[in-house]
């Protein structure tokens, strides 16, 4: 089963939330940000090149122009490979764990898998971000030494930053699976 909804992030940008039910014990949420727009690339490139051309007319050194081209290319590659995240996926598998994947615009994927044994809870938290208070979803990890302590807070959907309505939906689904997991582990 699949469904898709269009949402907005905290700044009002568009987001799309795909939900896939593979089975009752396996759920996937995928948040897609809009792709990088041609307009912004063109604007940035034009600005850099015009500035370089301005400098060139002043100094009459053609090194500046080639340097500007290289800087633009490298900057674009770096931006696509390390900064721009296209999809963020949350895969929850009952009795196995929670997997977070972020796919960059260049196709690079970075994945983190957290075993269910280490997950203490999934919560919605508040944070001060720039000049506003935002909500975010995070995973609390158990402290291996002290059973009731929390060793780490892992934020989910860190780059997409969806609004609260989306977070609540994901949160409920996570809690259902976690409750099932807890019931299973307490009654062997």
């Amino acid at each position: 089963m699949e469904d898709e909804r269009s949402l907005s992030d905290i700044c009002g940008g568009r987001l799309a939330l795909h939900r896939r039910y593979y089975s009752p014990s396996c759920l996937e949420f995928c948040l897609s940000c809009p792709r990088i727009s041609l307009r912004s690339i063109t604007a940035v490139t034009c600005t850099v090149w015009l500035a370089a051309y301005g400098l060139f007319t002043l100094c009459e050194n053609s090194m500046i122009l080639s340097a500007a081209i290289f800087i633009t290319l490298l900057g674009l590659l770096g931006y696509l490979h390390f900064v721009k995240i296209d999809h963020e996926t949350l895969l929850i598998i009952d009795s196995l764990g929670i997997q977070m994947t972020s796919s960059y615009a260049s196709g690079k994927e970075s994945t983190t898998f957290i075993e269910m044994g280490k997950v203490k809870d999934v919560i919605i938290n508040e944070a001060i971000y720039m000049q506003k208070v935002i909500y975010y979803l995070c995973i609390l990890l158990k402290d291996p030494v002290e059973p009731h302590g929390i060793s780490q807070v892992v934020p989910i959907f860190q780059s997409a930053k969806p609004r609260l309505d989306c977070l609540i939906e994901v949160y409920r689904s996570c809690q259902e699976i976690l409750a099932h997991q807890k019931a299973a582990s307490t009654s062997p």
Binding site: M1, Y21, Y22, S23, P24, S25, C26, E28, L91, I93, D94, S95, L96, Q99, T101, T111, T112, F113, E115, M116, G117, K118, E176, H180, A183, A184, S185, T186, S187, P188
Partner: protein
């Protein structure tokens, strides 16, 4: 609606844990047979290790499993049946497979079945409720997880889980979660040793190595490695004994040894070589990795050194270098002379104290004159010295770089001297000024209490200094004189300060330049010394060997069939590789923070290059 259905499903299925069956991808095309593996009850997961094919004799299978269990300390058992339907479903085979469940009893009994198409898999796990085989069976929810047996076998999880104690019997699972799966596969390596050409009593399908190609060279190298290592270890122990000899211990020599970075680098290299050729077998993978890293870094270092040496020897570059070195030193001295003459005039339009300026300038000029004559005395021998020092590059690039750093500090000795003189004068003035400033404000430093106290100076007495104090008052005569002289001195010092400060500033900048160059050379040496090249190469070519964890991919599945996941190895990021396997280096971290450096510079305390010996104080 889907959520409702899901809730209903969850209610119906009860709070049983989902059964996870880890199945090796290499067995997916195997013929029908029995599933052999380990059952981990805490996580209700079944790790399938191999498939036993028909025909077999049950007793022989049990014997084989007992052997494996004894060798690997893993509770290997028959977990269920595997059925691969290539043609039309055969009814007889199904009954036969069910019958096997009574022969090899296991709870729960897995029944894995693959239809003709590659996508339709079926898996049932039955648990018998009662002791009798005819008791009603209940079925568990099953999840199929495919894994690559070879990669899981060879990979090493980071951070390493606590090593399970190898006790007798079946007591194993101390590692939790997926680490248990990795552990199981790694420890049942015995099972994978037979390859497909073995004609054993039991036919198995599992991951098989392609076979090891025997090469006579490799065999010879293996045979020779032991004696060679022993010989090298003897030689190294001789060298270290010689270096610890008492001849080198007396005061001036030991002082020089502690100051030269070449000696330090040589000592480090000796330690590295000792570690590599030591006869002790490496305990655990971490130490093995460290040995390999050290070996690769030493080899690379030596290769780079030899490259440098060959480059220097070609076209007789030593002579060119020596010819160029003396003019460069001359040039530097000349520039310094110009600088001093500029300082002795009116530098940047500043009006200095002429007398002090001349004195300082002449002193430094004389020093440079001495230095130039020293260099010219040395110049005939410089080529030979360079040639002999260049030979040390075959010990490695790091040694050559350390020698370069030492040469730089020797050749810029005059700058160092100027800096020291300037700094001493400047700090003297600063300290004098700070104490006189206290006197100026009517305070004084109380030595006993380690604090600043106020002190009453009778100002009237000072103004009428010529008049003798009235008797009987116990008037502090000494205080008046102190205040008078102190004020005078303070004025003199404050007027002389700009001249000294200018000299100090210029020579400090020169000194900082030299220190920065030396610091860069040391950073390069440290980089070569501490970079874990073997681990990085392993991460680059065999990413699965260093695993940070796993990642799962959901394979497409039909409704009503069990969920199928593909487990892949998540390789360790490069930054983590470097952080985990960093080799210990000589340890020259910047000793000063920026703040303390600026403070030291302001108060005229001496700064040294970053490399400082930790154990010896000078």
């Amino acid at each position: 609606m889907p959520r409702l259905l899901q809730l209903l499903w969850a209610q119906l299925s009860g709070p049983g844990m989902v059964l996870k069956a880890f199945f090796p991808t290499c067995c997916a095309s195997a013929d029908s047979g029995l599933l052999v593996g380990r059952w981990v009850p805490e996580q209700s997961s079944a790790v399938v290790l191999a498939v036993v094919h028909f025909p077999f004799i049950p007793v022989q299978v049990k014997e084989l499993l007992a052997q494996v269990q004894q060798a690997s300390q893993v509770g290997v058992a028959v977990l269920g049946t595997w059925c691969h339907r290539r043609q039309e479903p055969e009814e007889s085979l199904g009954h036969f497979l069910e019958g096997l469940g009574t022969l090899f009893s296991h709870e729960p009994w897995l029944q894995l079945c693959r239809e003709r198409g590659s996508k339709s898999w079926n898996c049932k796990a039955t648990r018998r409720q009662g002791p009798t085989p005819l008791a009603p069976a209940c079925e568990d929810q099953v999840m199929l997880i495919f894994y690559d047996q070879r990669k899981v076998l060879l990979s090493r999880l980071h951070p390493p889980a606590a090593l399970p104690e190898r006790q007798a019997g079946d007591a194993t699972a101390s590692a939790g979660g997926l680490a248990a799966v990795f552990d199981t596969v790694a420890r049942s390596e015995v099972l994978f040793q037979s390859d497909r050409f073995d004609e054993g009593p039991v036919r198995l399908t599992h991951w098989q190595s392609e076979g090891v190609e025997a090469s006579i060279l490799v065999e010879l190298a293996k045979r020779a490695a032991g004696p060679v290592c022993l010989l090298l270890a003897c030689l190294l122990s001789l060298v270290s004994a010689a270096s610890a000899c008492r001849v080198f211990r007396p005061w001036p020599l030991s002082f020089i040894w502690s100051k030269l970075s070449t000696c330090e680098q040589l000592r480090h290299r000796l330690d590295q070589l000792t570690l590599v050729v030591s006869a002790h077998r490496a305990e655990g993978p971490a130490q093995l990795m460290r040995k390999a890293n050290t070996l690769v870094s030493v080899l690379l270092d030596m290769a780079l050194g030899l490259l440098l040496l060959s480059w220097l020897h070609r076209k007789d570059r030593f002579a060119h270098l020596a010819e160029a070195l003396v003019p460069v030193a001359d040039r530097v001295a000349e520039e310094l002379q110009h600088l001093l003459q500029w300082l002795m005039g009116a530098p940047a339009g500043l009006k200095m104290n002429r007398a002090l300026d001349q004195v300082l300038g002449r002193f430094f000029l004389y020093h440079i004159h001495l230095w130039i004559s020293y260099i010219h005395l040395m110049s005939p021998f410089i080529e030979h010295i360079l040639w002999h020092l260049g030979l040390s590059a075959c010990l490695g690039l790091t040694v050559a770089l350390s020698i370069l750093s030492d040469i730089i500090s020797l050749l810029t000795f005059h700058i160092y001297c100027f800096y020291v003189y300037g700094a001493r004068l400047y700090s003297l003035k600063i300290h004098g000024l700070s104490s006189l400033w206290r006197l100026f404000r009517g305070k004084k430093w109380n030595v006993l209490r380690q604090r600043v106290d106020s002190c009453s100076y009778d100002l009237d007495q000072v103004w009428r200094a010529g008049i003798p104090p009235r008797t009987g008052e116990g008037c502090p005569n000494w205080h008046q004189a102190a205040l008078f002289i102190g004020t005078l001195l303070f004025t003199i010092l404050i007027f002389l300060l700009p001249t000294t400060a200018l000299y100090y500033l210029v020579f400090t900048l020169l000194r900082l330049l030299v220190v920065t160059v030396q610091g860069l050379v040391h950073l390069l040496v440290d980089l070569i010394n501490s970079l874990p090249l073997y681990s990085l190469g392993l991460r680059l070519c065999r990413p699965y060997r260093l695993a940070a964890g796993v990642k799962f991919r959901v394979l497409e599945h039909e409704a009503g069939r069990p969920l199928r996941l593909l487990m892949q190895i998540n390789p360790l990021p490069f930054s983590h590789v470097v952080r985990t396997y960093r080799l210990p280096s000589c340890g020259c971290h910047p000793k000063h923070s920026w703040g303390s450096l600026c403070r030291k510079l302001f108060f005229g305390e001496l700064i040294y290059p970053w490399r400082q010996r930790g154990d010896k104080q000078d």
